[in-house]
Amino acid sequence: MEKYFYLVILFPLIGFLVNGLLGSKMKGTTPGLIGTVAVFIPFLIALGVFFNYGHESQPILQNYFPWINIFDFQANFSILIDPLSLQMTLIITGIGSLIHLYSIGYMHDDEGFARFFSYLNLFIFSMLLLVLGSNLLILFIGWEGVGLCSYLLIGFWYKNEDYGYAARKAFVMNRIGDLGLIAGIVLLWSYFKTIEFQAMAIHAANVDMSDPVIIIATLCLFIGAIGKSAQIPLYTWLPDAMAGPTPVSALIHAATMVTAGIYLLVRAHFLFDLAPSVLNLVSYVGIATSIFAAIIALRQNDIKKVLAYSTVSQLGLMFVALGVGAYTTAMFHVTTHAFFKALLFLGAGSVIHALHGEQDIRNMGGLKNEIKSTYWVFLIGTLAICGIFPLSGMFSKDEILTVLFEKSKGLWALSLFSSLLTAVYMFRLLFLTFFGTYRDDEHKKSKIHESPMVMMAPLWVLAILSVFGGILNLPHLIGGESYGKMAHFLDPIFSHSKLATEHMDAGLEIGLMALVVGLVVIIGFVLYNIYVKKESLPKPDMSLRGVEALVANKFGVDELYDTVISKPVLGISRFFGQKVESAFDGISGFFFVAGFKSIGNSLRKIQNGNVEFYLILMTGSIVVLMILQFLIKI
């Protein structure tokens, strides 16, 4: 089975070429079927390899052809099959095929149907290169490739000029990260004289802790991860990226591409273990992003924007876990997050589809009765992300919190706060969308329709995965003998790791778990009161009168919530959402467009077309250069 593993990479590429070149001539849903099959077959192959891969198996290195050979630098086109890459491959191809299938329904009427599938296949191809590459350079090809596909897909609906701008912004921001990555690659090569992961890992065993080169190199890699995984300060592209079609948001901007940064850190964990200071930075950036994005999410009214900020927040949590060296925990959360966030995005897509393009949750409401099936899967997704027992999100999030509790109480408290905020904005989203009464006019209501089977089937599959995903890596407490399956599967790659996680006291673990679940449930009820019973609506200018009215109605809890938590938090949220974020935007925008452009404009004035002026300037330059070269000694 391993012999045919190259097909895993080849099929999506073939799908891209077929759809890209011949797609426009095909009729109906043929391009969609081709695209889906081109991803599903690799999934089957990867599944076969996975079942053959025992705990004692050695990582398989498959070398295809030599690529770059410069000085003593060598890079081959080769892939590495080990537990980590296998797990990522399964996520990418598995969720990828579901989303492809879903897209057949979602994109059915789009004129760029074939083009869409060719980009998606190209994305899967690049993403597989990223996770399967046996050296940093192959990873880098995939890294750039997914950035490019993300750019193409964000700007897919060119009807709106802003979308093209958002796409380019995403690409430029990604590029900043990418170039950090390549600087890291060059640095690591100069240090280890190899960029193969396995060889580097062996060399790294003999390197001192906190070696300065390693610190700088890991910082560079981390900059790359920040760009790709949308962390502060390079995160603003991700909410903008919601301009793309919803399946794209699900696939690229939730389940796969944005987790590439986490993959990179896990893949290069043997370097990060040597740089504890960088690891600390990772967790600080992670927790800051997590809370920051969660606060912004509280005030968003676009169904996709809420999910986008939620993604940024969850990615932040994964970075926190990485920062304390809990690599398997982060990977577990990557996996479950891929399940429920893809589910939520696709569910949101189903809602948007049902409402013919409406994305503002203020214009929704009461959809529970209109689109029952979508409601149920969305509910499952929400419960999973909030961490309600026994859904998958609870297990992965709880594992992160447990690890943090051991390592650092401060980080634990902040992460707990962040995950409670998750519950707040997710329940708000759920209640406003599906509960209460429909708020747009009746004419539109009559047109609401449930999505077709081709869209609902993937949703149900994802819903099942979101419910039972926790089984993959049960804590010892619940799983008994079969606990921590994923941790055991991934364990071989961490054999060099100097940081290992132990098990804690069972009582404390139960306590923590109960605390989180309990708080989430309370938040759920409070919000149910506010948004469903009270039918209060988010208005851009929520006035104090609303609070007074609540007091009059003796909703003491609401009052407390609203004045103590909600008002300040919403205020901060508005502050972050409008001021701070635009400042981040402004800083990067200033440097990357406006500032440079104004310098460029003044430079352009020199080019005035007057030959005499040119010649005088050139002669002047010669004189200056002559003085510099011959008279000034540096």
């Binding site: 060119y158 709106n160 000029e161 380019r168 990357f592 080019q607």
Partner: protein
């Protein structure tokens, strides 16, 4: 030598065929002659070249560069063929003849072993170009471009000649081996140093390094796009081929008379070039500035010259040339359907000509340095060739690459994401098969060599 003879004879045949009622065969004949000279180049044994009073010598480096220049010229002629279908050109033979003559000059620049040949090469390369630049007789911009190019080109040539005279005065020889022996001494005379300095300055002009770049945007914009393609590629590769050889001889020594200037000019070129490219509103001018920035990158190879670097240098310039030809052929197509060559001319091209614009897109990706293309490899090799005490150069390359995305992707955005004039653009015009061929050739070569760079790099051995 036989390569030069074949090209010269082709040029003469082309000229005569044109006046003797064979106008439609002129372009095919030129392409045929060039293909023949390419085959001869491949078959030729290097040793044959030593015989011409040791004036020229074909090294392996020269051979690869000659071959590249010939292929670029063939591609330019293919683009030209697409134009001939649409309009009657009564002077086509003259233009082709001039281009072929200037190609001979380019080959002299790769092969000279005597600085008189260098000077002859520069003049044979340049003088036909002044005429070509103004070849669109009734277009005022074209006339202006020709005159500007001529004035500033002769300015640069005179500076080079002055430098050569000083070098001759100091070394009493025109043979570059003798000169290089002189320069490798520990102490060289002021006169020789000044001579090397002036030759260097002249070449900075020829390769369009800032602050000697002023002619580039104006000339590229005014010159008919087909010939601007030739300027941006063959002329560039010729100037760089000669400059690199000279720099190894004159500048790559202890106490180099060029090193400080080189460093300063690289910084200026990359920084100013990138920033100015950002604000251009015209695709041709943007390409002109992009070619200036690429000159800056190519000059960085001069910092640590070695025999390996030669081949990486070749790879970089190949990637640049192929991508530029691809984008220029898109500009030629847009002009032929009456679009302006501002960025808005590209709007909607991705929908009206999907396959064609896929090729153009690959060329753009290569220029921007996205992996799996030659452009990425070129930049990667450039980074690897810089040593770590030149870390600020590395930063320069990286920063410039980030910003370059913004301006390269303006074309990209226009082709794929623009909604403006979508219906107007989707004209029934078919892209000429010749243009399709050129773009396809460029895009495929960029990807194939990007995947298997050793095929190309091994030719240098």
């Amino acid at each position: 030598m036989s390569v030069i003879i074949v090209i010269l004879l082709t040029a003469i045949l082309v000229l005569f065929l044109h006046i003797f009622e064979g106008r439609q065969w002129v372009n095919p004949l030129a392409i045929l002659g060039l293909s023949l000279s390419f085959i001869i180049l491949c078959l030729e044994n290097n040793s044959l070249w030593g015989d011409y009073s040791s004036m020229i010598y074909m090294t392996q480096f020269a051979k690869v560069f000659t071959g590249t220049a010939i292929i670029f010229t063939i591609l330019v002629f293919f683009i030209n063929q697409s134009r001939l279908k649409l309009e009657e050109d009564t002077n086509n033979g003259d233009k082709l003849g001039l281009v072929l003559f200037s190609l001979c000059g380019a080959i002299l620049l790769f092969t000279f072993t005597n600085i008189t040949m260098l000077f002859l090469g520069i003049e044979i390369l340049s003088i036909p170009l002044y005429v070509i630049a103004s070849s669109s007789k009734h277009d005022l911009h074209s006339n202006e471009a020709g005159l500007k190019y001529f004035l500033m080109g002769s300015f640069a040539t005179s500076i080079i000649l002055f430098g050569m005279a000083l070098i001759f005065g100091a070394t009493n020889s025109l043979d570059i081996m003798t000169i290089s022996e002189y320069f490798s001494q520990a102490e060289i005379s002021k006169m020789a140093a000044l001579g090397a300095f002036f030759v260097g300055i002249g070449f900075f002009f020829k390769v369009a390094a800032i602050p000697f770049h002023f002619w580039t945007p104006d000339v590229y914009e005014g010159t008919p796009s087909i010939w601007a393609t030739y300027f941006a590629t063959v002329v560039k590769i010729a100037s760089f081929g000669a400059f690199f050889r000279l720099y190894i001889l004159l500048g790559n020594v202890d106490n180099s008379p060029l090193y400080k200037v080189l460093v300063l000019i690289i910084i200026l070129t990359v920084v100013v070039g990138t920033l100015t490219a950002l604000v251009q509103e015209n695709a041709k001018r943007m390409i002109a500035y992009s070619s200036i920035v690429n000159s800056g990158f190519l000059l960085m190879f001069f910092l640590n010259p070695s025999s390996d670097i030669l081949s990486y240098f070749g790879l970089f310039i190949l990637g640049y040339g192929l991508a530029t030809i691809g984008i220029f052929s898109a500009i030629v197509y847009l002009e032929s359907i009456g679009n302006s060559n501002g960025f808005e001319g590209f709007d909607g091209l991705g929908r009206s000509q999907p396959l064609f614009s896929l090729g153009v897109a690959i060329c753009l990706l290569s220029l921007a340095g996205i992996p799996l293309t030659v452009g990425f490899l070129g930049k990667f090799y450039l980074l690897m060739s810089l040593s770590f005490d030149q870390w600020w150069m590395i930063l320069l390359v990286i920063a410039s690459s980030i910003i370059s995305i913004v301006y390269y992707f303006r074309i990209f955005n226009g082709m794929y994401f623009s909604n403006k004039k979508a219906s107007a653009i989707v004209a029934p015009e078919v892209v000429s098969p010749y243009l399709n061929f050129v773009v396809g050739f460029c895009a495929l070569s960029l990807i194939i060599i990007g995947l298997f760079p050793d095929f190309y790099l091994n030719i240098f051995q």
